[in-house]
Subunit: 126 residues, 2 copies
DNA sequence: CAGTATCCAATATGATACTG
DNA sequence: CAGTATCATATTGGATACTG
């Protein structure tokens, strides 16, 4: 397999390329939240447990630069910014959905019923 | 999303779980090579450009521990070891194939015809 | 041949304080 | 509210030398 160089980065193969675009700890969680609706910065942060301001900002910046999301700034006080999926971002959702189902299967094989865990957490919050 | 803890590791979500099992730089390349046939250590190393001995050993060890590959040691001199996919490993190939196709599409959008690059490299070697 | 062991560099992520 | 800037830490990967 030949190496590919783009924007001064080296990609070893197509999977490496895909995962350098939407992989890492936070890109898929952010895209996944946006599949439902347009969200503002603080809203995304509230929805994703553990994510720091630094990583959220960095993740949003890269996803926008790579064309997966759109950013709309409203000239208001206090400022408001809204993020939404592009068509390219919506294609990525299919990949995330596929990977997510595979992950759920792997977890079941390991004896973890994740969907049930999610249900239990909902009940606690009510 | 609740966190999941298994073997002293924290997983944030199902995608995180899947990619901690078959993600990283080298696991998918190794699994992908084994989809064709059983291979020995040195054979895998020759097929995967850039991979170091350390990373190959570590990758094989983790894939075996997680049940994606089988390791068979032959009591010969010099020693011979063969690695092959398990049924779980063959399921992972489907995921890799999916991700690979997505990566090829992303590359095309970025103006990179990877399949053509692979063809050109073959011609050079002949 | 098929690994181990050790040390080092690069990158990814986190914590904290500050700002238009 | 939506960031930036800086410093610290953790994880990953690479280089090199050695071994049953």
């Amino acid at each position: 397999m030949p190496d590919v160089i783009l924007d001064n980065k080296v990609f070893y193969n197509p999977v490496d390329f895909a995962l350098k675009k939407i992989g890492g700890t936070w890109k898929m969680p952010v895209l996944w939240r946006l599949r439902i609706k347009t969200m503002r910065y603080s809203e995304i942060q509230e929805h994703i447990k553990h994510i720091s301001q630094k990583m959220l900002t960095q993740t949003l910046k890269q996803l926008e630069a790579d064309g997966f999301i759109d950013k709309k700034i409203f000239a208001e006080v206090p400022p408001r910014t809204e993020y939404s999926l592009t068509e390219k971002g919506r294609k990525a959702i299919e990949v995330i959905d596929y990977l997510r189902n595979y992950g759920l299967n792997l977890m079941l094989e390991a004896g973890i019923n994740y969907q049930e865990m999610v249900e239990q957490e909902k009940r606690k919050k009510i």
